[in-house]
């Protein structure tokens, strides 16, 4: 377990107990934390903590099917990557699942290497999205510190407006805009306009024409 840099929990959802148990055993042997669920409903009943991991999801189950659970998770904003496991290589179903954001679509029985590869890719994605989320959270925190006036100025600055233009637009002195701009730069802890534009891009400010969202 030492070779795994960070621990990860694999959520196995399969109505077939033999499959569930055996896959759990294999994953544990591989060094993952495993938690198993007999149905989609069971999974929804005790949702996993937002820790590092991914979902191994059976496609066909009585009650909610795998793709239906995928939909529900997406709606609830879960960021857990999903790897589908299917009894038969149903191509249309796998295309739908991948389009809906599934990490992978594996046919049962999946070799250990294949399974491991898929899980590692999924965890990497989880990590990336985790980092992105962390970064975004920091940016959002910073954005929340802006005064309403500063937010207005920020919106215009990142769109390449000059101080003089902004002052004119907002009906104030160019000097005042300069002060706002300084404050914005320090609140976001950046030194250059380019960095500021990148932040605006991440926050999605540039897509909006009107009032920027916090």
């Amino acid at each position: 377990m030492t070779e795994i840099p960070a621990s990860a929990t694999i959520h196995v959802v399969d109505d077939e107990s033999a499959v569930r148990t055996s896959i759990g055993r294999l994953l544990r042997t591989m060094g993952y934390e495993v938690s198993v669920y007999g149905s989609a409903a069971e999974f929804l009943a005790r949702p996993p903590k937002p820790e590092r991991g991914c979902v191994l999801l059976d496609v066909q189950m009585p009650g909610l099917s795998g793709p239906e659970l995928q939909d529900q998770l997406k709606k609830s904003g879960s960021s857990l990557p999903i790897i589908f496991l299917s009894g038969h290589g149903d191509i249309p179903m796998s295309v739908r699942a991948i389009k809906a954001g599934a990490e992978d679509f594996l046919a049962k029985p999946a070799r250990k290497e294949v399974l491991e590869g898929a899980i590692e890719r999924a965890l990497k994605r989880f990590d990336e999205s985790y980092e992105r989320n962390v970064r975004m959270n920091v940016l959002r925190q910073h954005a929340l510190q802006l005064t309403p006036r500063e937010r207005e100025v920020f919106n215009l600055v990142v769109r390449g407006k000059l101080n003089k233009q902004i002052a004119h637009e907002l009906g104030t002195a160019e000097r005042t805009i300069k002060a706002h701009r300084h404050n914005i730069m320090s609140k976001f802890q950046v030194r250059s306009l380019a960095e500021l534009v990148s932040i605006a891009e991440h926050l999605g400010v540039l897509e909006e024409r009107s009032e920027p969202q916090a």
């Binding site: 066909q60 009650g63 029985p109």
Partner: protein, 633 residues
């Protein structure tokens, strides 16, 4: 037809008036135009005997009716009787001749018909004084003058009446006849039988003849009582015995029959009725008709001289059925054309129409019954054929079911294979580790074994479903069939997200049927149920399989779904072939299920459940547990 009086009365009165006028006119013409009278032929019959002789009476009646057709323009017929048996004195003959001559002198006779030789001789004499060219037609039973040329303008028929024939009939009735006893009016006193005397004397040469006609009747009966066994009695009518006693012929015949211990033969038909067994009789109808025609020819212009005298027999043998029965003589032994009188009316004679009607009805009924039976047989054959065909289709359906289930069965098979693969991979990794986790490895191996068995089981079930061997009913536990079927159904159910809920008692419930057949029905119904729930939101697809017993006599398997149910308009026909609620169904599944269940004497039915969804049930007769114990023992 009944007419009301007020209609009938005027009509009758009018008819009577017309008749009266016509009669008056006729009288007038008769009186004034005597020349006209000659155009209507007048015939005189002169008869040897008296008016009471039945033969001559029948003969005259027949002559009369034949003349009616021979001379349609009309004729007049008179008859005179010589009564030659009683009165034959010469003076009487002369007086009679004078009398008749005077009587018919002005009547313009056209012809004379005589019966008997004596009458013929009389007529010849009469004619010589009256009109010598008057044609005479004679009838006689005596062959004495056969071959003699008859006087001019005369012709006739000699119809022989032979004693010999009577003896022949006697021999038919009593083949051992050696003696002949003759009873009756002395033969010489019988004008139409005198010829018998000649024959008798001839017969006496070969056969013993006992002529009892010469004895008074009282002595006759005494003689007959002591007659030898080989003697036969021939009785001619007895009107007057040798002692001059007058008798009733019928009465004396009765007495003879009572005394004689053997069949009696006679020569007149009316004595048969009095008990005579057989008779040779002159057919008055045939003879009279021949005579009438002869007279007709002469009156129509032919010359009597030109017509040769004809000798022709008009006798026929007649028997009395009663007597035949009494003397135990079978009708088959009589000559072919024999006439048998007084036959007891058989049931057939009496109720012919009723019998015919009844027979016809029976026949019609039989035809109908036969038809119905043929129809029934045909239907049986057709039913058997269609049953056979359905069984064949059943086999095909099973293969189709297996085909339809193959992908889900493959899925089902994949589950244990996946588990085995996972376990094997885990084991391989554990073996690479520094310290062996024996407990975990043991658990893994146990799981692998279990999953392998499961895979093998699935394959076994599939193979049973496709079994082509001969189907045979056996005592089987429905619990096991259902459990096995559910194992097969789990694949398709899983694939379609259907939850299977089974309610199967642990007590074995036995029925007599073929395993594969029952499983096919269960699979059919269960697959239908799964199919019916396809459009339902997942989580609501519930397949219930239930087994129970009812009244300790039936096992009932119920398979219900939570689908939309069977459309009410299809409920009545759902088990008919080619009726389906599915888009791609053949419509044979339920019909096959019904056929299978019916084969084992069970029943299958469908209903929509209160909670929505359809329920299909089938019942099979329980095999009593005691039977099974007995079988095991």
């Amino acid at each position: 037809m009944i007419l009301p009086y007020h209609i009938l009365a005027p009509m009758t009165r009018r008819v009577m008036a017309v008749c009266a006028v016509a009669a008056a006119l006729l009288c007038m013409t008769g009186a004034t135009h005597s020349a006209e009278r000659t155009t209507t032929p007048t015939i005189l019959i002169i008869d040897n005997s008296n008016p009471d002789s039945p033969l001559s009476r029948d003969l005259r009646t027949q002559i009369h009716s034949t003349l009616d057709t021979e001379i349609p323009a009309g004729y007049t017929l008179y008859t005179e009787f010589l009564d030659a048996r009683h009165f034959n004195a010469r003076d009487y003959d002369l007086a009679l001749q004078t009398y008749i001559k005077e009587k018919y002198r002005n009547h313009g006779l056209s012809a004379i018909v005589t019966i008997g030789w004596a009458a013929f001789d009389f007529a010849v004499r009469l004619r010589s004084e009256l009109r010598p060219d008057l044609p005479i037609v004679f009838v006689t039973f005596d062959e004495a003058r056969v071959g003699q040329t008859s006087p001019s303008n005369s012709t006739g028929i000699i119809s022989p009446r032979r004693f010999e024939d009577l003896v022949k009939v006697a021999r038919i009735l009593a083949p051992q006849t050696a003696r002949v006893a003759v009873v009756g009016t002395p033969i010489q006193n019988q004008p139409y039988r005198r010829q018998y005397l000649r024959e008798l004397s001839e017969l006496a040469r070969s056969t013993e003849v006992l002529d009892l006609t010469t004895l008074p009747f009282s002595e006759v009966t005494a003689k007959l009582a002591k007659l030898p066994d080989d003697a036969v009695i021939i009785s001619i009518p007895l009107y007057e015995d040798a002692s001059g006693h007058i008798h009733q012929a019928v009465e004396t015949m009765r007495k003879l029959v009572a005394v004689a211990d053997r069949p009696i033969v006679t020569d007149v038909e009316y004595l048969l009725g009095a008990g005579a067994a057989g008779a040779v009789v002159v057919s008055a109808a045939n003879l009279g008709s021949d005579v009438g025609k002869l007279v007709g020819r002469i009156l129509n212009g032919e010359s009597a001289s030109a017509i040769p005298v004809e000798v022709r027999e008009h006798t026929e043998a007649v028997f009395n059925a009663h007597a035949l029965q009494t003397w135990d003589i079978r009708e088959e032994t009589l000559p072919p054309a024999s006439k048998v009188l007084f036959r007891e009316l058989t049931v057939w004679d009496r109720y012919r129409w009723q019998i015919l009607t009844a027979l016809a009805m029976l026949l019609v009924q039989s035809v109908i019954i036969t038809g119905l039976m043929i129809e029934r047989h045909r239907r049986r054959v057709a039913e058997r054929d269609s049953h056979q065909r359905l069984l064949e289709v059943t086999k095909m359906d099973r293969a189709l079911t297996a085909g339809a289930m193959s992908s889900s069965i493959a899925h089902e098979l994949n589950q244990p294979l996946t588990a085995i693969m996972n376990n094997a991979e885990a084991a391989a990794m554990l073996l690479k580790a520094n310290s062996l986790d024996r407990e975990e490895l043991r658990a893994i191996v146990a799981d692998i074994r279990r999953d392998d068995e499961r895979a093998a089981n699935i394959i076994k079930h599939l193979r049973m479903l496709l079994r082509q061997s001969e189907l045979k009913p056996e005592d089987l536990a429905l619990n096991e069939v259902l459990a096995d079927s559910i194992a097969l159904i789990e694949g398709p159910a899983h694939k379609c997200g259907v939850t299977v809920q089974a309610e199967i008692p642990s007590v074995p419930i036995h029925v007599r049927a073929d395993y594969v057949h029952v499983q096919q029905v269960i699979l059919n119904l269960a697959l239908n149920a799964i199919e019916a729930m396809r459009d339902l939101p997942s989580g609501q697809r519930l397949l219930k399989i239930r087994l129970r017993t009812k009244d300790d006599s039936k096992a009932i398997v119920s398979i219900s779904d939570s689908g939309p149910g069977v459309p009410s308009e299809k409920m009545a026909t759902i088990f008919n072939p080619f009726v389906t609620t599915k888009a791609e169904g053949t419509g044979l599944g339920l019909s096959i299920a019904q056929t299978i269940i019916a084969t084992y004497g069970g029943r299958i039915w469908a209903e929509n459940t209160a909670g929505g969804g359809a329920a299909f049930h089938f019942s099979l007769k329980l095999v009593p547990t005691t039977d099974i114990r007995a079988q095991v023992a």
